[in-house]
């Protein structure tokens, strides 16, 4: 079973990203679970979304405390919270940033880093506004490339299901991120 934790801010679409990812993985016959941090969310506040993907039925229904991989939708979160908390050694940290993976030397000691400029991709595809781009679908392209948890075709279906508005632009953004994501050296 793979457990993925998405860090984002309310309004960036982290919860939808988790749902679309789960849906995409389920198309290939995987068992999936996707849920938000339970509670009251508000725009701009740090949020978490959880995804489990497994070859076997998933019975565990508690939150994810020790993720295999984490995704950071907003680079400003790197300064306010410890995104590596509980992360298993050797796990991927997929970050939405213009920086290259090499610039995260501290993370690279124990984890693997991948980066993609999802903000630029979102803005270029008119997803959200310049001030508040919606980066969730772009990051999905990076996630499936790095973690290999779903095919591009299945991701397309997952996005259509959970992000039906501007589906074509969202799918294009995901594909651009898939091509552009930079993978750091194996730890």
């Amino acid at each position: 079973m793979i457990e993925i934790l998405i860090h984002g801010r309310g309004g960036q679409g982290g919860v939808k990203a988790s749902l679309a990812l789960a849906s995409a993985a389920s198309k290939a016959g995987k068992y999936v679970q996707s849920f938000p941090e339970f509670g009251v969310e508000r725009r701009g506040a740090p949020i978490k979304a959880f995804t489990r993907i497994s070859d076997d039925p998933i019975v565990v229904r508690s939150k994810i405390y020790n993720p295999d991989h984490v995704v950071v939708l907003d680079p400003t979160l790197l300064h306010s919270i410890d995104v590596t908390e509980g992360l298993k050694e050797g796990g991927w940290i997929i970050i939405n940033t213009e920086k290259s993976p090499d610039s995260f030397t501290e993370f690279a000691k124990r984890f693997k880093v991948a980066t993609v400029n999802a903000t630029k991709i979102a803005v270029d595809n008119n997803l959200g506004s310049k001030a508040a781009p919606i980066v969730n679908t772009a990051i999905l392209g990076a996630i499936i490339r790095v973690l290999n948890v779903a095919s591009k075709e299945d991701l397309e279906k997952g996005i259509k299901e959970f992000v039906p508005v501007k589906a074509e632009a969202n799918i294009k953004a995901a594909y651009e991120a898939y091509d552009q994501v930079k993978l750091g050296k194996e730890a």
Binding site: L19, A22, S23, S26, Y31, V32, Q33, S34, F35, P36, F38, G39, V40, I58, V59, V60, R61, S62, K63, Y65, E161
Partner: protein, 385 residues
């Protein structure tokens, strides 16, 4: 067709597939998504039903009672404070012997204000005459709505299908959504023997003298007893048609177990991972999940627990001044039975949505295994002192 859907939407699909004819509801977190989706389904014509927006949960149940009494397949959903507000009408629905199905999202009671899960809302409605089904996953939620109507319409008692707040209600997972034509073969249209009908006027629920009131209550208990058989029977038929069988309880690796853990709802689901882990370490442990709480599966509980070394009950609820409620019920079921009675440990955990993780469940099991008998009737797990 397999769809990745939230637990709340599994309820909506269950109602859609059951071809419910009326929905009257008032929104409350975390139930809102259920009725939101049903209002969309009725608005776009997918579901041919009358959707009534009401001003309170009391009215939601009152309206549901009216439509059920006039022969419609009626549905509603609520949670916590909403369930408490409709309490009077819960008695009416059961006493009038109406096969209503309602989803209740298990949310803890305020104050302190809370939206997270525990079972005190539905368990406060233990004695109203409704059947209560506690679900462990979204698939079971959808299936239990359909099964609810199938059973209720045979025994003339309402069914409450219960799912944990957020842990199911707002969690998406793969759910097999059956074709409605197949569900039609399982669940025929509702045809009541007696209903409100202007061509056959009757008085309903009128003044009932001490002469006959007790007989009506006797008949409700008889219906509950019959429901045990019908639930098992229909759960088996459902399994034959859809590949998923349901009963009053679910046994998991109990066969040669010395220690049996009893749990319900999603705690029971998570517990399976712990049972697997402890089994791998060579410990003979098993799980008894209580799926149907009313009618209470007394015979099944006695059969499974008889002769074991230890019984551990996890309650995500409490009857203040007594103990955890499942613990109390399991003990009570046992008292007049023959045979060996193992020591029983009653833990309370996860109130108000505190996460019940595999670690929490494992610590509970280890605590019980190392003790000869419980030091008190309530064993609080994780309470900060």
């Amino acid at each position: 067709m397999k769809k990745v859907i939230l637990g709340d939407h599994a309820v909506s699909y269950g109602a859609l597939l059951s071809r419910v004819q009326t929905i009257a509801a008032y929104p409350i977190t975390p139930q809102t998504l259920i009725v939101e989706r049903l209002s969309e389904m009725t608005a776009n014509g997918e579901l041919k039903a009358i959707f009534t927006k009401v001003e309170s949960e009391h009215s939601a149940m009152a309206s549901t009672i009216g439509s059920s009494a006039s022969g419609a397949r009626a549905f509603t959903a609520t949670s916590a404070q909403g369930l408490a507000l409709m309490h009077e009408m819960l008695h009416w629905a059961a006493g009038a012997r109406l096969p209503i199905v309602m989803a209740n999202v298990n949310r803890a009671m305020a104050p302190g204000w809370t939206i997270w899960t525990d079972q005190n809302d539905s368990l406060s409605a233990r004695d109203v005459g409704w059947m209560q089904i506690y679900c462990q996953d979204n698939q079971e939620v959808l299936d239990s709505i359909i099964l609810g109507y199938k059973v209720s319409e045979q025994v003339n008692l309402p069914t409450m299908v219960i799912l944990d707040a957020f842990v199911l209600s707002h969690t998406a997972e793969g759910v097999d959504v059956p074709d409605i034509e197949d569900v039609d073969k399982f669940l025929p249209p509702y045809k009541p023997e007696i209903k409100m009908d202007i061509n056959d006027p009757r008085s309903f629920g009128a003044l009932t003298s001490p002469d006959v009131y007790m007989e009506f209550r006797y008949k409700m208990q008889q219906a509950m007893d019959k429901a045990k058989e019908v639930i098992v029977e229909e759960g088996k038929k459902f399994g034959d048609m859809f590949g998923r069988k349901y009963g009053l309880v679910e046994e998991y690796k109990t066969e040669d177990a010395d220690t049996i853990l009893i749990a319900s709802a999603t705690v029971a689901s998570t517990a399976k991972a712990v049972i697997d882990e402890m089994r791998e370490a060579g410990l003979k442990v098993g799980l008894l999940r209580i799926r149907v709480f009313r009618p209470f599966p007394t015979e099944e509980v006695i059969r499974v627990l008889n002769g074991r070394k230890k019984v551990v009950v996890i309650d995500r609820n409490i009857s203040f001044g007594k103990t955890g409620i499942f613990f109390d019920e399991v003990k009570g079921a046992f008292y007049n039975s023959e045979g060996n009675k193992p020591p029983m440990f009653g833990y309370i955990a996860g109130l108000g949505g505190r996460d019940v993780t595999p670690k929490v469940i494992k610590e509970i099991m280890e605590d019980a295994i190392k003790k000869d008998k419980p030091e008190s009737e309530i064993l609080w797990k994780g309470v900060k002192l």
